[in-house]
């Protein structure tokens, strides 16, 4: 954007300070609360992904920023300005919606120039340069004369982004911009978007997606939503490495979520704690081996907690020679070319293990040991698991009580029939392949939302 940087009029919408602030925003449609006390800050230049299952209120949050839906309560700020009462056309932000909504009667260049002309942002003579710049950034320069119907889905998406970028907004709202593209194009566009953001480091981006890979790849921070509420927000790394809620652990990346009983807990120097735990069987009694895990807070002995184990952090051993391992029985072996996915029954819970292709894979029914290092096994904080007696029954009860019509849609999973999940809810589902969005049907506790949001 160096070409236009010097132009003083160009800065009129390129408002120096970007950023978005949701301040306790509640949105209801006909009395149905679809966004519940939503509080979130997006710093200038930051990319925040709104990640959540279908119907969790992501689009609604975005529309509240854009001005297409009025909050029942709460305020929305853009660039430090309270825009809650402003009509959409006065908010000065770029938006790309799922269907792109390119104007079909305008050529690509006319589409891109639309915002500049409508707002009379720059002198007429400068419009072609701005349009060319936006098209160059999105790699669409050679398609300027085409009509939208003459473009592929991926190209239309680029034009939609170019159109939003041409007005040099300080805030860019992207609503599942890649959902209409096939997997290959999608990963290409992901890289493009990341590059775009490096080119425009001052632009704040709110990126709605239900795809965890998109969120992990692009976002500085991820805000996990479920059933109209913010469940947890944190850096992509933190959410992945140290999930604070069961829902986030299940939704961001794949994970095995196992109920465990705490045996012992000790400070570990770096502010975290090392806990030794045993798996809790369905009857509620601790069973099996003592293993060590990490926890961000003190845990009391005898407490029941949820242990988050990423499938690819698990190792496989045939004999009992690992200190930190569960014993289990292999229930399913899937060969996936370069990788093996193994399901094992560990004291009544199904555990998934992802590993590079094994030379000698185990057979179904084999006794194996699943080992892991203590820092890769994370105990979900107590606030997230709810009361120590967070049994699946009470967890399930909270779901319909929240008064939202939405429900997470479980992804079609390649679960073999004989592995049909007949286990308590907090247990790990065999999650889908990495490239598919995970939608864990496991209900999340709403309680920690406020804590996490602050």
């Amino acid at each position: 954007m160096a070409a236009t940087e010097a132009d003083p009029t160009a800065r009129r919408t390129g408002r120096g300070s970007g950023g978005i602030r949701f301040d306790d925003v509640t949105v209801a449609y006909n009395g149905n609360v679809v966004l519940d006390s939503f509080t979130l800050d997006v710093a200038p230049g930051e990319v925040v992904a709104l990640l959540g299952p279908s119907g969790s209120g992501k689009t609604t949050a975005l529309r509240a920023v854009a001005g297409f839906v009025r909050p029942a309560s709460g305020r929305v700020h853009v660039g430090g300005r309270d825009v809650t009462d402003l009509p959409p056309y006065k908010r000065g932000l770029g938006m790309v919606v799922q269907q792109y909504a390119l104007f079909p009667h305008m050529r690509v260049e006319q589409n891109v120039a639309f915002g500049l002309k409508a707002q009379k942002l720059v002198a007429k003579s400068e419009i072609p340069a701005r349009v060319a710049e936006a098209l160059r950034m999105t790699g669409m320069a050679q398609y300027a004369k085409r009509y939208p119907r003459e473009l592929s889905g991926g190209q239309q998406q680029r034009v939609a982004i170019a159109r939003a970028l041409a007005i040099q907004p300080s805030v860019l709202l992207l609503d599942e911009p890649l959902s209409a593209l096939d997997a290959q194009l999608r990963s290409g566009m992901l890289a493009e978007l990341a590059r775009l953001h490096r080119e425009l480091p001052d632009v704040s981006i709110l990126y709605v997606t239900h795809d965890q890979i998109e969120a992990l790849t692009l976002a500085d921070r991820i805000a996990v939503m479920n059933e109209a509420r913010l469940v947890e927000v944190g850096t992509a790394r933190d959410l992945y490495k140290r999930p604070g809620t069961e829902f986030a652990a299940g939704f961001v990346g794949n994970s095995n979520l196992l109920p465990v009983t705490v045996a012992e807990c000790a400070a570990h120097g770096d502010g975290s704690f090392r806990v030794t735990v045993r798996i809790t069987t369905e009857g509620g009694a601790p069973a099996g081996e003592l293993v060590t895990a990490t926890c961000t807070e003190q845990a009391a002995a005898g407490e029941t907690r949820t242990l988050c184990l990423r499938p690819h952090f698990l190792g496989l051993a045939a004999a009992e020679h690992h200190d930190n391992a569960f014993s289990g029985t292999v229930s399913e072996v899937q060969w996936r070319g370069s990788a093996h996915r193994i399901f094992a029954d560990v004291h009544g819970h199904e555990v998934r293990l992802d590993t590079n292709e094994l030379r000698n894979p185990p057979a179904i029914g084999d006794e194996v040991w699943l080992h892991f290092s203590a820092e890769d096994a994370v105990l979900i904080p107590a606030a997230a698991t709810g009361s120590p007696s967070a049994d699946p029954a009470s967890a399930a009860k909270t779901t319909p009580a929240k008064g939202t019509p939405s429900e997470p849609t479980p992804t079609a999973e390649p679960t073999p029939a004989k592995n049909a999940p007949v286990k308590p809810a907090p247990t790990a589902e065999p999650a889908p392949a990495e490239d598919a969005p995970t939608a864990e049907p496991a209900p999340a506790e709403p309680a920690p939302a406020e804590d996490a949001a602050r």
Binding site: T13, A66, G67, F68, P87, P88, Y89, K90, R91, G92, L93, G94, M95, V97, Q99, A101, L102, F103, P104, H105, F114, G115, A118, Q119, L121, Y147, R149, R163, A164, I167, L173
Partner: protein
Amino acid sequence: MLLYTRRAQRIAWAVFAFFFLLLFALPFGVLVLAAFTKQWNGAFPSSYTFSNITAAFHTDPLDGLETSLITALLSSVIALVVGTWSALALDAVRNRVGKTLIQTVFMLPIAVPSVVVGLALLVAFSQGPVLLNGTNTIVVMAHSILVTAYAFQQVSAAVTRLDPAYEQAAASLGARPYYTLLRVKLPLLLPALTGSLALCFALSMGELGATAMVYSADWTTLPLRIYALDDRGHQFVAAAVTAVMMTITLAVLLAVSRIRTRANYR
């Protein structure tokens, strides 16, 4: 309709051809034939002539053509503007009851016999502050009222079908509502607009009922003249005038439909 077998296709064509011939081709064919007829006693004319056509062009009947064209053009443009305006305004009305009420009122001119519309205008403007009796204005008014109903229906349907995503995209790019209307909504509605313009024009060209109530001697439309010719026993000249009118109306409609195809970008 997807018909996969040849047989089904043939049957469909046969049924279509039968009804097309019976309902459209036959009456109009007879009319065109009559325009060139000198005498018609049996199943077919017994002798042919061009004199009807020359009569149509040389006597006053075709003066009515100019009157008709001006009336139809004015009233269809008025109808388009008023109908579109109303359709767009009504789209913004959120009150369901009010919306339905207004929609119904717009249907009224179609629902009542057109003679009643003419009568109503006559009663309203024969006395009192505004005197329009016997002017060409009242004829144009009658036509406008009648065809606005159709324009409104057509544009209304198109407006509700318009994807709000376009309007929202324009707004998010900073376009004020008026700019969005001009640059996004109206262009997207263009096919519906030209379509209803054509419909209104055609309807106005053929209007008789209301016109018969309000016309004056110096503003007599073609349908009225055709009726008068037929009344005086000049059927074949009436047929000739009708044939000329049909040709010209068709030409105008074709021209409009050319604009329509160019406006169809999707």
